[in-house]
């Protein structure tokens, strides 16, 4: 067959260190680079959250080394209330952009999407390299804000104008720090646009023979749908950031109205609208939630199917649900703005599509649960994190019921309830997906197995820890504990301090548990037991490559040919209870 013939790749395997590991065009190396970047960002973000948690309950405790980082923000290592706000801004920005967008989507998507569709590489390898290095530049720009002038910005990861637009008058961090924030996100948007364009072109154009759209695994679909969402979302945030930068540097007034008196200076602006920023930001911001969670949904479904030894009751329904969520995600941004002063009638218009998202989310949950019923579930680190994901997705999802209703939002908006909600559903749940993906694909990426005992301990401690941190957040919110406050000095919040202490202990505990993961990752990379070619007996194409890690062109000069739908489990075949997508073998259902 001609399609199985050896053929020369679009680019030859590089030999120099720089082209192989640094400025590599290989999607696998780029995937790992994204993973490494996300790891660096998540460690930074988590350390910031520890500092914030410690400051919240022991406001006068000196934190070793912090005084060196910022003499003004943390004199003697003691965090000042304004430095707390700066750390909070950096934490949110790092986590949302550089962790939740990078890890489940860019890292795993880059590594596995081309392999799962039988391609040799991405459609545009040079764009791919550019998108990683552009992201890296954005990351460096953001981190440099720690070391300039008055330190990092303090207007939150949402960068609400006019606080973010009027410049240094608005206080420390609003000078160079805030500019760096705007530039960093601007650059990040360019990278994400390049990346998502590449994902879309690759999925549509580079599928191997027999790999019809309906034969793509759920996770491939998830990355594809996510890249469609990202293309639209970042295309709006990009100009929004540009306008913000212009307001700050060129004297324009897109987001600044007339007559503002900031720090006794009448601002030389007129005609702008702070709500314009909010609309543009949340038009991006809400789909961004799904950019974080859809790839995790895909990863978890893919891994769960393999470990249940059966297809989902209908994996297509899950794909349709992801599409529905992606579509609805563009109609709900106003639920972040119920109290922003926009027309109160529009609150209802945004509320109903938000509530409607519950339907596809419930369908997915019911399909996961219904598929577990009667399955031959294998318990390993990867499948445990999938189960943890389902639990977390439900827990974070039900609190969405509250916030989708404007009447309840009047009370709960800007309280810890919101913080608990999004940390569970887009933070922890997405990270659980990343952990599941790591345990599952590590053998393919390195040729070695991760340690299962450590993996399970990591899972149980993380599950207990994250619930202990984020569940109480909801009850704090119901008590009226407002977010983004560094000190609880007033009468009302003092009784809640013991709850905050508990959360701080839980956060330190959960963070410490992640050391198990880091150790496992590093140790297994060098000392792990060698991985068999298909350790999980999985059917998709990434397990058909001739070696682990796959060779430079993925399939050793061959074009694989696909014969089956993605999830042929529970069948009788020569390999056992499953048939690879690439196997020409016809199957019969095991009786």
């Amino acid at each position: 067959m001609s399609e199985m013939s050896v053929h020369a790749g679009p680019h030859a395997a590089p030999t120099s260190f720089i082209r192989k590991y640094v400025f590599s065009l290989d999607h696998k190396v780029i995937g790992l680079q994204y993973y490494g970047l996300a790891l660096a960002a998540v460690v930074t973000g988590m350390v910031l959250s520890w500092i914030m948690r410690v400051h919240l309950v022991w406001p006068n405790a000196p934190i070793p080394g912090l005084g060196w980082l910022s003499k003004v923000g943390a004199p003697g290592g003691v965090v000042t209330p304004e430095y707390y706000l700066q750390l909070l801004t950096m934490h949110g920005t790092l986590m949302v952009f550089f962790v939740l967008t990078n890890a489940p989507f860019a890292a795993f998507g880059n590594y596995f999407l081309p392999i799962q569709i039988g391609a040799e590489d991405m459609a545009f390898p040079r764009f791919n390299m550019m998108s990683f290095w552009t992201t890296f530049v954005a990351f460096c720009i953001l981190l440099s804000a720690f070391f300039v002038g008055d330190g990092p910005p303090l207007s939150g990861w949402t960068g609400y104008a006019p606080l973010s637009a009027v410049g240094a008058d608005a206080g420390p961090g609003q000078g160079i720090g805030q500019s760096l924030w705007g530039i960093s996100i601007f650059v990040f948007c360019i990278a994400s646009l390049l990346g998502s364009l590449n994902f879309i072109a690759t999925t549509l154009d580079l599928r191997t023979k027999g790999m019809t759209l309906s034969r793509m695994p759920i996770v491939t679909w998830a990355w594809f749908i996510t890249s469609c969402i990202a293309l639209l979302a970042f295309a709006v945030l990009l100009p929004a950031c540009l306008l913000l930068i212009l307001d700050r540097t060129a004297g324009t007034s897109f987001f600044i109205p007339a007559g503002l008196n900031v720090a006794d200076h009448i601002q030389p602006h007129q005609g702008g609208s702070p709500l314009l920023w909010q609309h543009l930001f949340w038009f991006f911001g809400h789909p961004e939630v799904y950019i974080a969670i859809l790839p995790a949904i895909g990863i978890v479904s893919h891994i769960l199917i393999c470990n249940m030894r059966r297809d989902m009751l209908s994996h297509r329904v899950i794909i349709y649900c992801m599409m529905a969520i992606g579509f609805l995600s563009y109609m709900v941004w106003g639920h972040h703005m119920f109290l922003s002063g926009m027309n109160p009638f529009s609150a209802l218009v945004f509320s109903f599509p938000t509530l409607m998202i519950t339907i596809p989310a419930t369908i997915m949950t019911l399909i996961w649960l219904g598929s577990l019923y009667g399955s031959n579930l294998r318990i390993n680190s990867a499948s445990l994190f999938c189960l943890g994901f389902i639990s977390m997705f439900v827990s974070g999802g039900v609190s969405g019921f509250f916030l989708a209703q404007p009447s309840i939002d009047i009370y709960l908006h800007a309280t810890y309830f919101v913080v608990g909600h999004f940390h569970m559903v887009m933070g922890v749940a997405a990270i659980m997906g990343v952990f599941a993906g790591t345990y599952f694909w590590f053998p393919k990426m390195t040729g070695r197995m991760m340690n299962e005992t450590l993996g399970k301990w990591h899972f149980y401690l993380t599950l207990i820890g994250t619930y202990a941190i984020f569940m109480p957040f909801h009850y704090l919110g119901l008590a009226g504990n407002v977010r983004r406050y560094s000190a609880f000095q007033d009468d009302f919040l003092v009784p809640l301090i013991p709850v905050h202490k508990f959360i701080t202990y839980a956060a330190l505990f959960t963070g410490a548990a992640q050391l198990i993961f880091i150790f496992n990752l590093v140790h297994s990379r060098f000392k792990g037991s060698p991985a068999p070619p298909n350790p999980w007996e999985c059917t998709s194409l990434e397990w058909s490559t001739p070696s682990s890690p796959p060779p430079f062109d993925n399939f050793g000069g061959q074009h694989p040919v696909v014969h089956h739908d993605p999830y042929q489990y529970g069948v009788k075949s020569s390999t056992g209870d499953y048939v690879m997508q690439t196997s020409p073998e016809q199957t019969e259902v095991a009786s």
Partner: protein, 270 residues
């Protein structure tokens, strides 16, 4: 073994997490919401209770079923898989019918509570008060005997001379008798029409006991209305991140009897 550990763990976590909701829904003990002192707050609190019951039931049901299925089906030694009765079609129908109906009902009923706060304008005899938010303080202004507010001139703001609003009493007659206060003092059981003005950046007005939260948006003059029913002092906090002193930006809502309020207003105008 691993499956059973997970199953037990997830059930324990779910039950522990839900204790306050179970208490609230079935035992009559309120989740720690502060006392409601407004006329519209009851509708919000009821909506919250209904939602909490529905969310609590969905949460517990999903977690317990997850635990049960993992307990039952982990580590089976091969053999054919069983299909969930009804398959995907049944589940999709259930989701559409039950969840669809549930969210629609919640949304419709909740809309009424929202409408009472936001769709009805303040009545014409409501007492007008202007609130100004600036980094990092709230100020409140009463129109004085003439019932008219003087106009605001941002360039004339001079906090050193207590001209917090930028009034121009020399040239602007209505401004001369305006009364400025650092606290929002209101009479009980009287509708208040609060007009919000932002001096510099975005802020927000939040009184937990009033069940009111509304942003101050620079360049937009927004307003809200409420009736406080209980005499007392309640915290007003800023809930929109507004700069370095955000955490310290607060004031008080001081609800007085009409008599005390009249006395207070008189003492201020002197």
């Amino acid at each position: 073994m691993g499956g059973k550990v997970f199953a037990v763990l997830i059930v324990v976590i779910a039950l522990l997490s839900a204790i306050p909701i179970i208490n609230h829904t079935f035992m009559g003990a309120s989740v720690t919401l502060p006392e409601d002192i407004s006329t519209h707050g009851k509708a919000i609190d009821e909506q919250l209770s209904v939602t909490m019951a529905e969310a609590g039931i969905s949460f517990l049901a999903a977690q317990l079923v997850l635990g049960l299925f993992v307990w039952q089906f982990a580590h089976r030694k091969g053999g054919p898989t069983k299909k969930f009765p009804g398959g995907a079609t049944a589940l999709v129908i259930v989701a559409f019918l039950f969840v669809g109906a549930e969210v629609l009902a919640l949304g419709m009923v909740g809309s009424k509570a929202w409408a009472t706060v936001y769709f009805k304008p303040a009545s014409s005899d409501a007492m007008q008060v202007q609130a100004q938010a600036g980094q990092f303080a709230f100020y409140f202004r009463y129109p004085g005997a003439d019932g008219k507010f003087g106009s605001i001139h941002p360039e004339k703001i001079d906090e050193g001379n207590s001209n917090f609003f930028g009034l121009d009493p020399e040239n602007d007659i209505p401004a001369r008798d305006d009364i400025t206060s650092g606290e929002l003092v209101v009479p009980a059981n009287k509708e208040i029409h609060l007009m919000l003005h932002a001096k510099d950046v975005g802020h927000s007005f939040y009184v937990r006991e009033l069940r009111i939260q509304q942003d101050f948006v620079p360049g937009l003059d927004l307003s809200l209305h409420f009736t406080a029913t209980k005499v007392g002092k309640y915290e007003i906090v800023c809930t929109q991140l507004c700069g370095l002193g955000h955490y310290n930006m607060k004031s008080y809502l001081n609800v007085m009897s009409q008599e005390d309020f009249d006395k207070w207003l008189k003492s201020q105008s002197n």
